[in-house]
């Protein structure tokens, strides 16, 4: 599954846990166990409200999410297949398995490993393509926006360097003082 958007983890960060533990311990030490328990309850109540609120925001589309399969699952399977191969090797060394059975089982496991690796490759390629696409899209937007804003100042009018009167872009002389206007190219260069 792929989608743009987000950090789904949302797992309480260490500092959040500390923020919870410190007041609870403080309350236990200063006011006794009952108060400590009620502080813990309050912290979890707030934690619940916060998480449900974020959940509702995500459902409503008010919060961006990014969810993308990472290849940890594939790594799990790869590691697992590697161990299976090692284990098979061990069984062969200890003479528990015939050579022909060993060959066949090893082939089966290797085929599975290849399939997983190719899935992994595809996943990584998709990820790379997605990143490039995202980058290009963002970059395009920025450059489009940049060129638009630039053109808004350069395409509509040109300022006379001596009397600051706005003249048409294609004008060669100022319409007020009659002085010669600099060429469009040099104007652009100055702006940049």
């Amino acid at each position: 599954m792929q989608a743009s958007g987000s950090s789904t983890s949302g797992w309480p960060k260490l500092w959040l846990v500390m923020i919870g533990i410190v007041p609870a311990l403080g309350a236990v030490m200063v006011y006794g166990l009952p108060t400590g328990i009620i502080v813990v309850g309050a912290i979890f109540l707030l934690l619940g409200i916060w998480n449900l609120w974020v959940s509702l925001q995500i459902v409503a589309g008010d919060r961006s999410v990014t969810l993308r399969e990472d290849s940890m699952a594939f790594s799990d399977e790869k590691r697992f297949l590697l161990r299976t191969l090692e284990d098979l090797e061990y069984e062969r060394t200890t003479g528990k398995i015939d050579d022909d059975d060993y060959e066949e089982l090893r082939e089966q496991i290797r085929n599975r490993a290849q399939r997983v690796l190719s899935e992994d490759e595809t996943e990584l390629r998709n990820r790379a393509e997605q990143l490039v696409e995202d980058y290009l899209r963002t970059h395009e937007k920025v450059s489009t926006a940049g060129s638009k804003s630039a053109s808004s100042t350069t395409t509509k009018t040109r300022q006379c360097p001596s009397c600051t009167t706005e003249n048409d872009l294609d004008a060669s002389f100022c319409k007020r003082c009659g002085k010669k206007l600099p060429s469009a190219l040099s104007n652009k260069a100055r702006e940049s």
């Binding site: 934690l47 619940g48 940890m72």
Partner: protein
């Protein structure tokens, strides 16, 4: 704020129920909708947080003695210490359901956090299955067993207190451990459902739940054993397992989970046993719910059960829904679940695991039918038939021996088929050692008081045993000792072979090679260590065969002899603390040669909150060979006469040592590989480079392995 506590508790419980329902729907609709999945994950955290807050409110009620709450007034009083006040959270029906819901929600949150961006195709259904179960427990708690219900007649001056039998340190830790085991079985089931719904029935879900199932199995083991210890030291009948329906209920999922852990190994290596594995995971989860039904419905009488209530019907409906859904999904996915490969040879590991599956499922069915016999017989033949411990012991002994034999032989078989030479090579050493064990038992057993043959007596109204079983009953000790020796020899041989293989590669000394062998294949060797522990547990169970017991009525100065022990009654005394009066008899123990062995002080405790229910506080003088187990039956304050029951229970210590070794072995299986933890540290979830490196790493190792 104090006035609002009960309402706040019910409010939080309701909020948790609504949140879990909300999460369930979000997750159920989240397939291919990442936004909904992200929202469901957050909502799952929220549900767990609110459930925790509800438990905190109830704990606050207990520690502040808020007797406005009916539950608090029924299960605590002002004399109880903080530890027991907290344990009262799960001491009664209502609180234990909330506790279950809390553990499940917390487990779910940890699972969701662990999942992160992994298994995205399975995740929606996993979360939906978990939250559906949380919602069920929330609904039952709220509708039928709200622990925040107020006392209608107003708060009493003091509470009724916790049942004295539950005021034991084991009872503080046994239920949470067992619940963690029960609740832990929900996660593998959620993955199995996700695999069925999504159609991803390959090894993906199997790999995902490997550690989850082991953790659940570990907690089930610990929960069961802590329950045994509690029964041993608190109930005072001399034993640790009475085949009580509630004890059996916690044993069912343990057996099927054990079957799954072994059965999964086959699917991991070969495209077989898919149906078995899905079924075993599902049955394990169903049995946890069925156990809860047995414990709470009151349909079967038990010393451990909660009071009779109408809660059972909810569990029955839920169980019906679960079973029909699972069967429906299995039928739907029948084609991919069917195995394309068959077992090629009966002399193969697949065949042994296949037989193990059937033996363990058969055992579960046997104990299940025997446990529910009162209800079944009532429904079928119109009269209630119950069976006692004798019946179970008689039939479970041969079953146990078959399991012990399979356990020993399995490591000696290879995958697909094992040739005659390999079988011979594998069996020679263990068989020789087993014969040696047999001879040693025949020669030295009688002089140690552990004879190899025993007489079989028919107790109660049981029919006499058929010929073969009668004979088997007589030779149980020697068969068990032989099989146990065989098992130990197989394990030693496996370690030796592993170390030898490593030594030939690494050119290092034996201990270092052994260490490398274990650290490279933790699951294999952790499993062997767990097997070793189980062998010791079996030997411990065998000890029952040589039990001796006696009773005496003594005045101070008199002695009583049993087996190798001489007990001298020294004095009686009465002590008091905040909660109870303690009537204690002190006896000094020597052996037949006169050597001092220790002092035992069995007692009767009379809790002021439960004066009509005195408890026997057993005292045990343990040793490796046997436990001297002394119960005080009665004590006269005028004449100081004490009636005592004395049991000599051989080899009980083997059970506890065995369990410690099982835990150690499971710990080794669970221990993450160093390379993996290093990799995880350097590999951030979104770090493509790290993954790429990992992929290359594996490819490289793969090449090396081949």
């Amino acid at each position: 704020m104090w006035h609002t506590i009960p309402a706040l508790g019910t409010g939080l419980l309701t909020a948790s129920l609504v949140a879990s329902g909300f999460t369930f729907f979000l997750a159920a609709l989240a397939s291919s909708r990442p936004r909904l999945l992200a929202a469901a994950r957050r909502a799952a955290y929220g549900t767990a947080a609110w459930t925790t807050a509800a438990v905190a409110i109830l704990a606050y009620g207990f520690v502040t003695h808020d007797f406005r709450l009916s539950y608090v007034s029924r299960y605590s009083d002002r004399s109880m210490s903080v530890g027991y006040l907290i344990s009262a959270l799960w001491g009664g029906q209502d609180g234990s359901l909330l506790w279950w819901m809390f553990l499940l929600a917390a487990y779910s949150a940890v699972c969701v956090a662990w999942l992160r961006n992994r298994y995205l195709a399975l995740q929606p259904y996993v979360i939906a299955a978990l939250m559906g179960t949380v919602a069920f427990f929330g609904l039952v708690t709220l509708v039928a067993a709200d622990p925040f219900t107020l006392n209608l007649a107003g708060p009493p001056v003091d509470g009724q207190g916790l049942n004295p039998l539950l005021q034991n340190i084991n009872m503080v830790i046994h239920p949470p451990a067992l619940y963690l085991g029960f609740v832990g079985c929900t996660i593998p089931y959620a993955f199995a459902m996700a695999a069925l719904v999504s159609g991803r029935l390959d090894n993906e879900w199997l790999i995902a739940i490997r550690k989850w199932m082991l953790v659940a199995w570990l907690f089930l083991t610990l929960g069961n054993v802590l329950g045994m210890i509690w029964a041993y030291v608190e109930l005072g009948w001399g034993g640790y397992w009475g085949w009580d329906p509630v004890e059996n209920a916690s044993l069912f999922p343990w057996i099927t989970a054990t079957a799954y852990i072994h059965s999964a190994m086959v699917q991991e290596r070969r495209p077989m046993f898919k149906l078995w594995n899905i079924s075993l995971v599902s049955i394990t989860f169903f049995l946890t719910i069925f156990g809860t039904f047995l414990t709470r419905s009151g349909v079967i009488a038990s010393v451990h059960a909660f009071a009779e209530s109408d809660l059972g019907i909810y569990f029955l409906y839920f169980l019906g829904l679960l079973i029909s859904t699972t069967i429906g999904l299995i039928v739907w996915r029948w084609s991919p679940l069917r195995s394309n490969t068959s077992i090629e040879s009966v002399v193969s590991r697949e065949a042994v695991f296949f037989s193990l599956n059937w033996v363990l499922i058969g055992t579960t069915t046997f104990v299940l039918v025997a446990t529910t016999l009162p209800v079944l017989s009532n429904a079928l033949v119109g009269r209630t038939i119950t069976v006692g411990p004798e019946f179970y012991n008689r039939w479970m002994t041969p079953i146990g021996l078959v399991i012990l034999a399979i356990m020993g032989a399995t490591p000696l078989f290879g995958w697909r088929k094992t040739n005659a030479h390999a079988v011979r090579r594998g069996f020679i050493f263990p068989a020789t050692i087993a014969v040696l064990g047999l001879l040693l038992h025949l020669v030295f057993g009688p002089s140690l008081g552990l004879p190899p043959f025993v007489s079989v007596t028919t107790e109660g109204d049981l029919e006499p045993l058929p010929g073969v079983l009668q004979y088997l009953g007589k030779i149980v000790p020697v068969v068990t000792v032989t099989l146990a020796t065989f098992n130990v020899a197989v394990i030693v041989q496996e370690f030796w072979r592993g170390a030898k293989a490593q030594r030939s590669v690494r050119k290092t000394h034996l201990l270092s090679a052994l260490f490398h062998a274990v650290s490279r294949a933790r699951r294999r060797y952790g499993g062997y260590i767990a097997h070793l522990g189980l062998v010791l547990v079996f030997v411990g169970f065998l000890g029952q065969t040589w039990n001796a017991s006696g009773q005496a009525s003594l005045v101070p100065g008199e002695t009583f002899s049993i087996e190798n022990y001489v007990l001298r009654y020294e004095r009686s005394r009465v002590e008091r603390d905040r909660a109870k009066d303690m009537y204690i008899a002190d006896l000094s123990v020597t052996d037949r040669t006169g050597a001092y062995r220790g002092t035992v002080s069995p007692a009767k405790y009379v809790y002021r909150s439960h004066r009509d229910q005195p408890t026997s506080e057993v005292d045990v003088l343990p040793s490796v060979r046997d436990d001297l187990y002394v119960v005080l039956g009665s004590l006269s304050l005028e004449s100081h006469r004490a009636a005592i029951q004395v049991y000599v229970n051989p080899l009980v210590s083997f059970i506890w040592i065995g369990v410690i070794i099982v835990v150690l072995g499971t710990g080794i299986c669970l221990w993450p590989h160093a390379s993996m933890s290093r990799q995880r540290k350097t590999q951030r979830p979104d770090d493509g480079n790290g993954e790429r490196k990992a992929a290359l790493d594996v490819e490289r190792k793969d090449a090396h392995a081949s």
